[in-house]
């Protein structure tokens, strides 16, 4: 039965999961929103970034430096991936389905490269989770509070960039209609590069906070998280950052609360249940558009 001593702390865990999920799903959804590419290699790029952060950590860097390195790697890698792989495929006429296969294949290649390099063992960052803080009956490690703060800060930054700057306006214009945006004098190529830098930075950051929170990680960690990211992005309506943020909170809290009451093994199953119910009522997700698939921005 609903028991406050289980419920309240699990909401706390939910907020941590939601924070990690928000970083990842906003990045994922931004990539789709601006370029119509479902980057299913996203989880594997998260893992790759976590390994970059791990290298910095083992070389004596502190966690902040690891995060910076991971975010920088995620940003540059994603941008390069988009410009030199995804866009090239689109220019050759690969259709939406083909692009999904391209992304999945790339993910497999990245994941197994990491496996070949690092082996099938678990890795742990050298850091202390800090003392425990109690807050309204919820218990957080200091590191978890930092994760929440990073997520809130990043979400605010993304929101401000998208709504308050010329760059954000250009991004939204490119997302809405790339050829019209180009005709209006927007350098869509550069806007797309910046969008992938931004979302890639979120991806790298998400990878690092994910492995900080789970403490041990391996070459499949990011990819295991991909389903939840995709579920959150779809629940919010793919392409809508605000939707992804809200959906992350819903999925994060629902999964952790259900883990507290049912079993942690069914977390993802519950998330999927929420997704199916919402899609039955609103096939385009909470904030999505009902319109047909747009052409890929070229």
């Amino acid at each position: 039965m609903l028991n406050a001593s289980v419920l309240v702390p699990s909401i706390g865990f939910g907020l941590v999961t939601a924070s990690i999920l928000a970083l990842a799903s906003v990045g994922f959804t931004l990539q789709f929103g601006v370029t119509n590419i479902l980057n299913l290699a996203f989880g594997d790029i998260m893992t790759a970034s976590a390994f970059v952060g791990y290298a910095v950590n083992r070389a004596g860097g502190d966690i902040a430096e690891s995060m910076l390195a991971g975010a920088a790697f995620g940003a540059v890698f994603s941008m390069v991936l988009n410009r030199y792989v995804y866009m090239r495929f689109i220019h050759r006429g690969t259709n939406l389905f083909g692009m999904v296969v391209v992304a999945l294949s790339l993910g497999i290649v990245i994941q197994n490269l990491l496996l070949a390099i690092y082996g099938a063992t678990f890795f742990t960052y050298n850091f202390s989770a800090g003392g425990q803080e109690h807050f309204l009956g919820m218990i957080f490690d200091t590191s978890q509070l930092v994760i929440i703060a990073i997520a809130v800060g990043s979400m605010a930054a993304v929101g401000l960039i998208l709504t308050r700057t010329r760059l954000g306006k250009a991004m939204r214009a490119t997302a809405a209609d790339p050829s019209l945006a180009r005709a209006s004098g927007i350098a869509t190529d550069r806007v797309i590069d910046v969008a992938w830098l931004m979302s890639g930075a979120l991806c790298g950051l998400a990878g690092i906070v994910l492995v900080l929170n789970t403490s041990a990680f391996q070459s499949t960690t990011g990819n295991d998280f991909l389903v939840v990211i995709v579920a959150a992005a779809m629940l919010g309506g793919v392409g809508s950052p605000v939707g992804a943020m809200l959906a992350s909170i819903v999925i994060g809290v629902v999964t952790e609360v259900s883990a507290g009451f049912i079993s942690p093994s069914f977390k993802e199953v519950i998330a999927f249940g929420v997704l199916v119910v919402v899609l039955l009522v609103r096939p385009q997700g909470i904030f999505g558009h009902a319109s047909a698939v747009k052409e890929v921005a070229v």
Binding site: V101, V102, V227, S265, F272, Q284
Partner: protein, 352 residues
């Protein structure tokens, strides 16, 4: 032929038959009808589990070391046919949810999520199919009645697989070479246009989804009754990517092309690496194998997106376009064509 070679060859032939069925099953959905079924392997798995638990006796047998549902000890060929039926029925449920109202990009993502979630459910609900360890010791069909030597039974199973493959091919060929196949291709290429011509594209897709996944179920059943065991590790969602890669390599939409793909990708890759000396740390060869599969798919999509044996471009004689009227002057611009003179060519003309 030495005993070992004969054993090896027969094993490969069974795998080849299963892979060919797999490729046809997914090609019907993806290659012919354009359905983004990234959950394909889940339907194969459901078929395998169904055949497994229908063939096995009650789960208290063998000292009760594994738990599973049903345990009906049904005779061959009931479990294999039931596997197709159960996979098809599940496909109907999934199809009714995903194929009707969702945008195509959402369909692709939901399928991917379904595949992962199905693995999670089967892994965690131990009572269903014995959880992560999976079901094992599944009796082989007719093994006790035939009373063959192990090698003789191997070749019997090759014939069995070949018979099922031929049986399925009759249906697959009927679909791809019929008006139904044309309607499906039209749905794939231009869903709106197909709808405008009065085709119920949702119904068409649902049909192919159910039929294709029933074949997936049969392929899973044949595989599980050969190897005798099935666990969540054998149907991670990336397995769908292997079959997809085989289809892309062979020639998307072409029955014979994807057959070739089945020989080249899943079979050749598993067999080629079998003879490599163990190098590096354990698991390295597996990792390299996946990297090669990924690069193969990328390479083909880049250089030969239509595959080794491309789909035949279909041309139809113009009398289909204008069954009764006078020959259509194709040089005349479309806009000035007399209304009702013909079903003006662009519909029947294949898009360049």
């Amino acid at each position: 032929m030495s005993h070992a070679v004969s054993f090896y060859l027969s094993t490969i032939l069974v795998y080849l038959g299963v892979d060919i069925l797999s490729c046809w099953s997914l090609n019907l959905q993806y290659g012919v009808a354009g359905i983004y079924n990234f959950a394909w392997v889940a339907f194969q798995a459901i078929g395998a589990y169904t055949a497994g638990v229908l063939t096995l006796g009650p789960s208290s047998g063998n000292g009760g070391f594994q738990q599973y549902i049903i345990g009906a000890s049904l005779p061959f060929p009931v479990p294999i046919l039931a596997a197709g039926a159960v996979s098809g029925a599940l496909a109907l449920v999934v199809g009714l949810v995903t194929l009707r109202r969702l945008r195509t990009d959402y369909q692709a993502m939901v399928m991917l999520v379904i595949s992962v979630i199905a693995t999670l459910v089967v892994t965690n609900v131990i009572g269903l199919f014995n959880g992560p360890a999976g079901i094992s010791l599944i009796p082989q069909p007719l093994e006790s009645t035939l009373n063959l030597s192990p090698l003789g039974y191997q070749w019997f199973y090759v014939l069995l697989t070949a018979a099922f493959t031929a049986f399925v091919y009759v249906f697959v060929h009927r679909i791809t070479s019929s008006p139904l196949g044309r309607a499906l291709r039209a749905t794939r290429d231009h869903e709106d246009a197909a709808q405008a011509l009065g085709k119920d594209t949702v119904k068409l897709k649902l049909f192919v989804f159910v039929f294709g996944n029933a074949i997936a179920g049969i392929s899973g059943a044949l595989l599980v009754m050969f190897i005798g065991a099935w666990s969540p590790g054998s149907w991670m969602y990336v397995e769908t990517l292997v079959v997809l890669t085989a289809i892309i390599v062979g020639g998307t939409g072409n029955d014979f092309g994807v057959m070739l793909g089945a020989m080249l990708v899943p079979v050749a890759f598993n067999e080629a690496t079998r003879f490599l000396p163990p190098i590096g740390r354990p698991g390295l060869i597996d990792a390299l194998q996946w990297i090669v599969i990924g690069l193969l798919g990328l390479g083909f999509l880049w250089f030969w997106p239509r595959g080794i044996v491309p789909e035949r471009r279909r041309r139809f004689p113009s009398r289909i376009a204008a069954p009764l009227g006078p020959p259509v002057d194709r040089r005349r611009p479309l806009g000035r064509a007399r209304v009702g003179a013909s079903a003006s060519s662009p519909i029947a003309e294949p898009t360049p």
